[in-house]
Each structure stands twice: as C-alpha cells, then as structure tokens.
C-alpha cells in the first residue's frame, strides 16, 4: 500500500536530515502505528506522504505508484480537529467532497450525513463545532477524513488533545471503525499503550534522525478489549518498547 524507498528529507532551517535513507512498507489493510519520542520526525513522515513536504531524495509509492502522479490517495487527520468554526458539522464533513468538485449539492449532503451516522453522530450535522464535545469533534474530523475517499488514512496523534477517559473510549471506537472499514491506517502516537492496543504492527523510530523504523508485530488478535492489554505477551511487548524508547531519550 505505502512504500518508502531510501527517503531522505531535510528542513531548510536545519543542517541535518531529520529522515535519512528511510525505507519501510505498509501492507494493504494494516493498522500500523509509528511511535518514537517527540520531535524525532514522526509527523514529518506524514508530511512527506501527504506532500506538504517533498523529499530531498528517494521515492514514496502508494499502490506501487509514485505519489506525485496521484491525487486523493490519502486522507490526513491532524492532531487538532481543525473544523471550521463558521461551518456546521455537516458542511465541515463534506469539505473534501466540495474540493473534489465532482458531486451535486444533495449528493454531498447525503454522503456527509452517512459519514456522520457511521461515526455515531446522527442528527448532529446542523450543529456548529463548538456545540460538540472534544470527542465528538474528533469523530466529526474522522468522518471528514473518511470522505476524502482514500484507502490510506494518516492519523497524526488524533486523540492527544483529549482528556484521558475520552481517549480510552475513542481508541476503542477507532478500532471498531477500522474493523468495519478495513482501510489502511498509519497512526502516529507517542503513547505506547495506545499503539499496542490499536495496531497490527508498531514501527518504532530508532532515534533522530530516523534512519530505520524497527517493526514489532503485535501478538494479540482482534477484536480487542481493554483486557487485551493485560495479556502477558502484550505486557512483555510493552515493556520491551518502553525500554527501547527510554534508551533513546537518555
């Protein structure tokens, strides 16, 4: 689905490459989390995939084709919900469709309502974003990401701005969504537990600059419950990941 081939990237303001000859691959339908200490360049990987930045060298392929020859190949969901405050929820959600410009008014509204229903926000479409709770806004943002129509979803710490309890609920909710939609999800987080709970596979950043992502296959199968995290093999995996990340921080 997504392939990085020897990708190198450097920010103009910096004198080193934050991503250095990085190669990795994500299969179709996988849920892959990228973890690593803050500031190591996890989000930069996303900025490269959605073409907000162009790599200095190397190639990024989606479905075997270079991304610069494609459009609408990925749906990006940022940390903040980024809902436009002057638009109602339904009008926010249909924004990607408006931009693609290939749909009629009623078609856009219908699809937006469907997407809202899919994320459990039926009947909330006429409200304004400020009238929703933080968790509901993130779900609306997720619905908007779904309407990009892409099979590759990039979720950049989508729950980091939420309170702890809401986060716990939201990650179970996200897992349900994924099991139903079966889209490929690339999920950036610095929360090891969150990564373990959600993913088939965890890619851990080996320090900064990122030259390699170490891949860990998560032992537990789906569906998962909060108890899954208490299984001994998950606990071992968690300890191993935390130990690795701590070594890097120190």
């Amino acid at each position: 689905m997504l392939t990085f081939k020897n990708v190198t990237f450097q920010y103009k303001e910096e004198d080193f490459s934050i991503i250095d000859h990085l190669s990795f691959h994500v299969d179709d339908g996988e849920f892959v989390s990228i973890i690593g200490p803050s500031g190591c360049g996890k989000s930069t990987i996303f900025r490269l995939v959605n073409r907000l930045q162009d790599p200095k060298s190397g190639e990024i392929l989606v479905d075997g084709m270079p991304i610069d020859s494609q459009k609408h190949y990925c749906g990006y969901m940022p940390q903040q919900d980024m809902l436009l405050p002057w638009r109602t929820v339904v009008k926010n959600v249909r924004l990607p469709l408006e931009i693609q410009g290939a749909f009629s008014e009623s078609e856009m509204n219908q699809r937006a309502e469907q997407a809202l229903a899919a994320v459990g926000l039926e009947g909330q479409g006429r409200k304004f974003p400020k009238e929703l709770s933080g968790g509901m806004r993130q779900r609306a943002a997720f619905a908007r990401t779904l309407l990009t129509g892409s099979n590759l979803l990039l979720l950049d710490e989508p729950f980091s701005a939420l309170d702890y309890l809401t986060r716990l609920t939201m990650r179970e909710w996200l897992l349900e969504q994924w099991e139903r939609e079966r889209k490929t999800v690339l999920f950036v987080t610095h929360d090891v537990e969150e990564a373990l709970f959600l993913s088939n596979r965890v890619l851990a950043a080996e320090g900064a600059p990122i030259t390699q992502l170490r891949s860990f296959r998560i032992p537990a199968g789906y569906p998962r419950t909060p108890e899954t995290l208490q299984q001994s093999e998950m606990l071992v995996q968690k300890e191993q990941l935390i130990a690795m990340l701590r070594r890097k921080v120190s």
């Binding site: 409200k127 304004f128 968790g135």
Partner: protein
C-alpha cells in the same frame, strides 16, 4: 448588540446628564456665539433644515460614499495582493505603515490646489484616512488563518483559489466588517476636513461659513448632523454584518453564535 437595552441605560443617563450640564453652563454664560446650548443647536438645525438636508448633507455623503468605495476596493486589493505574494508584502507593508506618518490634514490644502474645490480633493483626503485601517485589518485577518488549516485543505487537494474561497474569505469577513465600522467615522472626518479647507458645499464647508458669521449654533448644527450620520452608517453596516454572519455564522466570536453556544452548553452531554 451584546446586551439588551437595559445595558445601555447607564450610558443614556450619562449622556442626558452631560447635555443638561451643557445647557445649564450655556444658559449661565449667555453667549450663544461662543457656546450655544443643545436646545439652541437643535432649534438652529430645524431652522436650517432645507439647506442642510437638501444641499450640504448630500454633498458630504457623496464624498463619504465615493471615498469609502475607493478605500474598500483599494484596501481589499492591497490586502489580497500582500497575502498572495510575499514579495508584494515586503515591498508594500512598510510603505503603507509609513504613509500613516504623513499628516493628511496638513496636506489637504495641497489637494485643493491640485484638484480644485470639487469632489475629488475631499475624496482624496477621505481615501488617505480610510484605506489604511481597511488594508491592515483585512491583511491581519488573512494572517490569522492557521497554517495547519491551509495545509489540511491542501491535503484534500484544494488549489490556491479554493483555499481562498473556502477558508480565507469567510475567516476574513469579521475583520472586514470591523474595518468598515472603523472607517465610516474616519471617512466622515476626512470629508469634513476636506470641505472645511475649501469647498462650495458640504457640512464641513457650512460649519466654517457659520463660524465666520459668529453663529455658534450654526457651527454646531452640521456637526450634530455629521455625528448622527456616522452613527446611522455604522448601524447599517452592523445590520449588514449580522445578516451575512448569521448566514454562515462566521467565526466563534459572532454574536449569534456565542448566544447559541451558551444555550447549548448546559444540555451538552459528555459524549466521547
């Protein structure tokens, strides 16, 4: 707007008290050519209603109208240009700021010299006074749009024009309206100054003519008219703003929007 009429009551009472004080002092001085009382001013306004309303008010409003339209076009154009092209911003922004150090009022006689006693010398004063707040406020509005928002729309495949239409334009609307509300009184001041310095008609011109005749109430009457005109214009702009903003509920600060949120926050259920 924010509060009900009860909130304006203290202000209204203060105005009334000040007017009464003015009237008492004026009656005590008993020199109407220096300090006419408010009652005398209103009476004089009534006596002069035909020339004031039929000749001079329309003349001043023409200057204000033409000046404002030019300023809005110029200000919006400059703001859009500077937002779209960093090079234009670097070249123009310092110039626009510097232009404000020019004492427009002192230059006004020169404009009369160049453009004569007609409409355009006054329009120029008005434009010089009002294009600045419009340009800078609207430009600030463009800059208030978060980069992350622009980037998100870009990842949806939006081009520059779509980002402008769907994101920047609605975000800038409240800024635009405050700029206009700021500019209306300024443009009236500009027009009056222009007329004061050289004109054949207009409220500023009329006020000066009355001064040469030592008609104190006659000086005040057009000023009163100017103030009322400014208030009415600002009120009209506010009404237009409300209509536009209600339609799209622009930004979280919009009044209708805040009211709505207050109501709903109580019944908001914790959902996640």
């Amino acid at each position: 707007m924010r509060q009900s009429n009860q909130g304006n009551l203290p202000a209204a009472m203060l105005v009334l008290a000040l007017l009464m004080l003015w009237q008492i002092v004026a009656m005590g001085m008993d020199a109407a050519y220096i300090l006419p009382g408010p009652v005398q001013v209103v009476l004089r306004l009534w006596e002069l209603r035909v020339p004031l309303f039929c000749v001079h008010l329309p003349a001043t409003m023409a200057v204000v109208g033409v000046g404002l339209v030019i300023s809005v076009v110029l200000g919006l154009g400059l703001a859009v240009l500077m937002d779209g092209h960093p090079a234009a911003e670097k070249a123009l922004y310092p110039l626009i700021i510097a232009s404000q150090t020019i004492p427009t009022t002192a230059l006004a006689p020169l404009f009369v010299l160049w453009f004569g006693y007609g409409l355009w010398s006054k329009v120029l004063v008005t434009v010089l006074m009002t294009f600045f707040p419009i340009t800078i406020t609207v430009f600030d509005g463009f800059r208030s749009v978060k980069t992350e928002m622009i980037e998100l729309l870009f990842t949806f495949g939006a081009d520059k024009q779509q980002i402008f239409r769907k994101l920047k334009l609605p975000a800038v609307l409240p800024y635009f309206f405050s700029a206009i509300k700021m500019s209306v009184p300024l443009s009236i001041i500009g027009a009056a100054i222009g007329e004061w310095l050289g004109a054949q008609r207009g409220l500023g011109y009329f006020s000066r003519r009355m001064m040469t005749q030592l008609d104190g109430a006659g000086v005040f009457a057009p000023i009163l008219l100017l103030s009322v005109a400014a208030m009415i214009l600002v009120a009209i702009v506010s009404i237009i703003e409300k209509c536009v903003i209600t339609k799209e509920a622009v930004l979280g600060e919009a009044p209708i929007y805040v009211a709505k949120e207050k109501r709903s926050s109580k019944k908001r259920n914790v959902t996640a």
